[in-house]
Amino acid sequence: MVKQHVTTTVNGDAVELLCDPTQTLLDILRDELDMKGTKEGCGTGDCGACSVTMDGVLVCSCLVLGVEANGASVETIEGMAEGEELHPLQQKFIDHIALQCGICTPGLLVASKALLEENPDPTESEIRYWLAGNLCRCTGYHKIIEAVQDAAAEMRGN
């Protein structure tokens, strides 16, 4: 296997590594960088558990090759809290008990953060459509939607 040199930025930190061309960005995060917060669900882009942003764009990291991340800026769930202080979305997911098993939660948080950066005041319908690519088999989604709405309101200063 011919490994390729990849330089990328993950949560603001410069990262250099050697990448097998078939490794996904998800493989790189979990297996090479030991960042296990990003989860693998389906591996085929259907469940959204592996959601990260790349140059500000929400993507499934299982559908991006590690070599494609060369030169890009990647943000993962590990970069969401500021030190010990949780992001408002993280706090509201706890307050609303918007999780049970928790496998989908990192992806839902990253996807919700990307939504609120694009649309600080989404309707319930907009939240549901935006999060259609993030599957949760436990909660029935209602508490997740409430948590996102509540976090959005707090972030708007209401």
Binding site: M1, L58, L63, V64, L65, A132
Partner: protein, 288 residues
């Protein structure tokens, strides 16, 4: 996993050279939302992956006095973020907006949706209805190919070794034109079309239809151009009689598969219904 190599050339010539010169199997990579799944499930086993999305021509969106063109690896999100393109071709965007999830549209492209050659690809019928032309580059230079002639069957295209789609050209729109795409799926999101239908039409000042084009997806081995359905609209005011003829022509064009997501009979019936509903939306857009 074998000894797969990855290249990301920055020029068309370099990409063509890599693809044409590869003695093993070369795989073009755009957004990767289909290709990566196919590689990881061993449905394709390339020796060389050529990532074409670092080539400038593949990424540009341009409006030349109302005649739009965009690169084959422009993402769905990039098109959705372009308000002027959305206003010009709302039916094309009906299809683009239905591709996968937000995450998938952050990577997936219209070029990839076309060249993956699924009969159910959502952006293909509205691009066909729009009379989009694909610019294809390869070892023998460039050629212009109508979008409906790229896919030849499930997973199969008319592209030769070393060829790939660079960009799409859409014709300048006549006044009073509108387009629309609808699909039927059991779920509203993250599903594959059981039937898809795009209608693109132009009206004269009296409201009569002077030009129309209808394309159906997921009811044959590739997306269809349905001339009889367009003829049912042309010369009419898109009234109930024309709508009935449209539905009959759309249903008559179907030769669908029979599977758990839709029987032959069901898909054939739904094609007519969707044609009418898409025509009604296109009509409304043409008048507004």
């Amino acid at each position: 996993m074998t000894d797969i190599r990855y290249e990301a050339p920055e020029t068309l010539d370099a990409a063509v050279g890599l693809l044409a010169g590869e003695s093993g199997r070369a795989q073009v990579l755009a957004g990767g939302t289909d290709v990566l799944v196919q590689i990881h499930t061993d449905r394709v086993n390339p020796d060389l992956i050529v990532d074409i999305k670092k080539i400038a021509e593949l990424r540009a969106i341009t409006n030349n006095d109302g005649a739009w063109s965009f690169g084959a690896s422009v993402t769905g999100k990039e098109l959705m973020d372009n308000a002027d393109f959305n206003a010009a071709w709302p039916g094309v965007m009906d299809g683009v907006r239905l591709i996968g999830s937000v995450q998938v549209r952050g990577r997936a492209s219209v070029g990839g949706n076309l060249c993956n050659a699924s009969p159910a690809a959502d952006s293909v019928p509205p691009m066909i209805a729009a009379r989009a032309i694909a610019t294809v580059v390869g070892p023998n230079g460039t050629r212009e190919v109508p979008v409906e002639d790229i896919a030849t069957g499930p997973g199969q295209t008319s592209l030769d070794k070393g060829e790939f789609v660079v960009s799409f050209q859409l014709p300048k729109r006549a006044p009073n034109s509108g387009d629309a795409y609808l699909r039927f799926t059991p779920r509203t999101e993250m599903d594959i079309a059981v039937v898809g239908c795009a209608v693109n039409l132009t009206l004269d000042d009296s409201g009569a239809c002077t030009n129309a084009r209808v394309s159906l997806g997921a009811v044959a081995a590739r997306a269809l151009v349905v001339d009889d359905a367009a003829k049912a609209l042309i010369g009419t005011k898109v009234d109930d009689v024309a709508m009935d003829a449209l539905a009959a022509a759309a249903s008559a064009a179907c030769s669908p598969i029979d599977d758990k997501r839709g029987t032959i009979e069901y898909r054939t019936e739904v094609a007519g219904v969707l044609a009418q509903r898409a025509a009604a939306i296109a009509l409304e857009r043409a008048k507004s």
